[in-house]
């Protein structure tokens, strides 16, 4: 049925091999970029065919395991290279290959003239390969392969400008923090495998098998442990508290990388993983609560930091962290469909925003370069008034900003509102729901504020760029603009496939997206139907509309504050900073979390390592060994004095010895 699905990851792999091995010899940028983009285009085509085929099947048959070959068999353990096709993985491959293709296209223009152009495309294709493995893998281990693979590519691409120390540091930080998450993922997999095997004799790591046997698992208890481990994995990959600090630093990478990896695809892997194993997570109310709280906190916390950053990409990075927090909030509320929906809309508008900022940076960089200025091309304080210079970029950027701010009619509104409603109305967390909704709503307001702050500082007002560079600002080439337009279009209309029921009811459009994903989350819903007989409080339509209105109102307030501060009365922010210097400094410095981690974890580890080396290895172990040697040498130092060199001494001791021995035998 889906026999050719293995082609989807294969194309990027081929692209990677060609560019990786021969890219240096090819030299021609069009060819290299063409190969890279074409490989992804091919995957996209196959993905389209796959999803069409899937849609042609009736709902309950929309799942298939496609085995390619046996990877590891040992004892009772078996892992195949095999792919799982179901609605969820199909959505993901569509997002990954679709957005991925656009970003590849964009990169041809953006990376033009960079040293190591081939390297960039090779890594990008390798990333696509790993990401597709991650979403298509039908077992935990194959997912883990992709999981680590994307981490590696992220490392390589963040460190793309490896001669910059900050880039190398950021890459390493990303990899290590991801590894902390991977540790959790592995432990989760071990616990799950062992528990299912030991207590129910089901030795499997395959998702469909686990799902089939999920009814054997208890509620809470070991499942809480398993799911918390997996969630630790998700926090690493998806940049949630406490492992989020790598993502802002990851902006050291080229902008297309930020768009592809650190906004649209890789960072959503954690959300995908939870959705993939929703039947596990639903069985542990404790874990769901942890996820919801962490998601809500991250959404709010990252949003506060976003309000004070001046680097255009950093604002977007914190925005990504915050939006990922929303997705986890949805997951924690048990609204897996809503989370995945937000994942998709976020992929559209955030990719658009990043690519737009890339276009701005590209243009700024070129202009500053012409003017021999060393001003920071990413600092919004050097921008302003770009609206007229780059109209298309501005327009697409504005659309995506409206989408992320949650203005009704745009995609972000539908998905974000669904999440907020679910956070409020879900049957899992009781009173906590109000707090969750509150955090989400405030974060929505902050989001609207900092995103419009970004737009106003960049595109409105007077042009603050170095005057010499001013005339060199220009709109980007078509290869950059086209992806922007497509993504902006998707950010506007992408939401209409998942109109929340309460609105859909009125306008008569069903929630296509939720219905489509329904088979994936069926087990969870069945479980909830059995176990939440008491809960599921009924909320009125009025309440839902009311909350919707409130969140929109908060967003509008955010926008108007941004307008007041950064367009109408531009002296106000400075006054504000002067009034609350401590607060501003703390927010600007990201609440000093990095410093705290350095102080609490990194430095103690290093000094402990040094202590073990110098203290234990050298002092104790070697000390004992060398000490024994010294004791032996000390004794021999004493005994050698007996060697006097005087024949008489020797002769006498010999005679004495003989006499003693003889005496013993004679007198015994």
């Amino acid at each position: 049925m889906f026999d050719n699905v293995w082609l989807i990851p294969l194309f990027p792999l081929i692209g990677f091999l060609i560019n990786g091995l021969f890219g240096k010899k090819i030299k021609n940028e069009t060819v290299i970029g063409g190969i890279g983009a074409f490989a992804v285009l091919c995957s996209f085509a196959v993905s389209c065919m796959t999803i069409l085929k899937l849609l042609s099947l009736p709902g309950e048959e929309r799942v298939a395991n496609v085995k390619v070959f046996t990877w590891i068999t040992s004892g009772n353990f078996n892992a195949d290279i095999a792919f799982l096709i179901d609605p969820l993985s199909c959505v993901m491959i569509m997002i990954v290959t679709g957005v991925g293709f656009l970003i590849h296209l964009y990169s041809i223009g953006y990376m033009h003239g960079e040293e190591g152009f081939y390297r960039f495309f090779a890594y990008l294709n390798l990333f696509m390969f790993s990401m597709l493995l991650l979403v298509l893998g039908n077992n935990l281990l194959l997912m883990f392969v992709g999981w680590e693979g994307v981490g590696l590519c992220s490392y390589l691409l963040i460190g793309y400008y490896f001669h910059k120390k900050s880039a190398g540091d950021a890459g390493k930080k990303a990899f290590v923090m991801n590894r902390v998450g991977d540790f959790g993922f592995l432990l989760g997999a071990f616990f799950l495998y062992w528990f299912m095997g030991q207590s129910h004799n089901v030795w499997t790591i395959q998702f469909t098998e686990i799902a089939k046997n999920a009814h054997l698992l208890p509620t809470g208890g070991i499942v809480t442990v398993i799911t918390l481990c997996f969630f630790l994995g998700a926090t690493g990959k998806s940049a949630q508290i406490p492992l989020y600090t790598w993502l802002p630093d990851a902006m050291e990478g080229p902008t297309p990388v930020s768009a592809l990896i650190h906004a649209a695809t890789m960072v959503t892997a954690g959300v995908y993983m939870i959705a993939r194993m929703n039947f596990l997570f639903i069985r542990s109310p404790e874990t769901l609560m942890v996820i919801a709280v962490i998601g809500g906190c991250t959404a709010l916390f990252a949003a506060t930091i976003g309000t004070a950053q001046n680097d255009i990409k950093r604002v977007l990075a914190y925005s990504t962290v915050s939006q990922l927090g929303y997705m986890f909030l949805a997951m924690g509320a048990g609204a897996f469909g809503a989370g995945v929906f937000h994942l998709m809309t976020h992929a559209f508008f955030k990719a658009c925003l990043f690519l737009g900022s890339g276009a701005v940076i590209h243009s700024m960089h070129g202009a500053l370069h012409h003017a021999h200025s060393h001003d920071d091309a990413q600092d919004m304080r050097n921008m302003g008034g770009l609206k007229s210079k780059m109209p298309l970029t501005f327009l697409t950027f504005l659309l995506a900003t409206i989408a992320i701010a949650g203005i009704p009619g745009f995609s972000g509104f539908f998905s974000k509102d669904e999440i907020l409603w679910q956070a409020f109305a879900n049957p899992h967390h009781g009173q906590l729901n109000y707090l969750l909704w509150g955090m989400g709503a405030v974060a929505a307001g902050l989001t609207a504020f900092y995103m419009f702050r970004l737009v106003f500082m960049t595109f409105y007002g007077e042009c603050r760029i170095n005057p010499k560079a001013k005339d060199h600002l220009h709109e980007s080439p078509m290869v950059i603009v086209i992806p922007l337009i497509v993504l902006a279009g998707l950010s506007v209309v992408g939401g209409y496939i998942g109109i929340p029921k309460v609105i859909g009811h009125i306008v008569g459009i069903p929630n296509y997206f939720e219905n489509y994903l329904e088979p994936v989350f069926k087990l969870s819903e069945e479980y909830m139907a059995q176990h939440a007989a008491h809960g599921a409080a009924h909320h009125s339509v009025v309440l839902e509309f009311g909350l919707m209105g409130v969140s929109v109102l908060i967003a509008l307030i955010g926008i108007s504050i941004a307008y007041t501060l950064y367009v109408k009365n531009t002296s106000l922010p400075a006054k504000f900073t002067a009034t609350f210097p401590a607060l501003h400094r703390a927010v600007y410095n990201k609440w000093y979390i990095d410093e705290l981690y350095d102080f609490m974890i990194v430095n103690p580890c290093k000094s402990f390592g040094r202590f073990l080396w110098k203290g234990f290895d050298v002092l104790i172990v070697d000390g004992i060994v060398n000490g024994i040697a010294n004791v032996v040498m000390g004794f021999s130092g004493v005994f050698r004095l007996m060697q006097s060199g005087m024949i008489h001494n020797y002769a006498f001791s010999m005679a004495f010895g003989v006499a003693v021995i003889l005496g013993y035998y004679i007198f015994k």
Binding site: L641, Q643, S644, G645, M646, I647, A651, F652, A655
Partner: protein
């Protein structure tokens, strides 16, 4: 043979004289002669016992010992001459290089 004891006593006296000589004298040649004395005391015992037991093995051994003693004398005297050439002394107290 009732006078075996007298042979053994003579031999014991000779051996003791030799031992005391080796332990007390410093002149290498004198010490050397004392060693010969000890060897010959043993030879005397061998011969006496061999005669007493009617077994010739003891007398065979005496020949071995005499051969060894001759070889030893040759090597020992050569060493002493070499030593005398170096130090102009054959006092064993001067031969104390083999120490720590």
């Amino acid at each position: 043979m009732e006078n075996l004891n007298s042979y053994l006593i003579v031999s014991a006296i000779l051996f003791s004289i030799g031992t005391i000589g080796v332990l007390t004298r410093k002149n290498a040649i004198v010490m050397f002669m004392c060693i010969e004395l000890m060897l010959n005391a043993v030879n005397l015992t061998f011969v006496a016992l061999s005669r007493h037991l009617g077994n010739m093995d003891g007398q065979v051994f005496v020949f071995f010992i005499m051969t060894v003693a001759a070889a030893e004398a040759a090597v020992g005297l050569a060493l002493m001459i070499a030593f005398f050439n170096n130090k102009e002394s054959i006092d064993v107290e001067d031969v104390n290089l083999m120490k720590w």
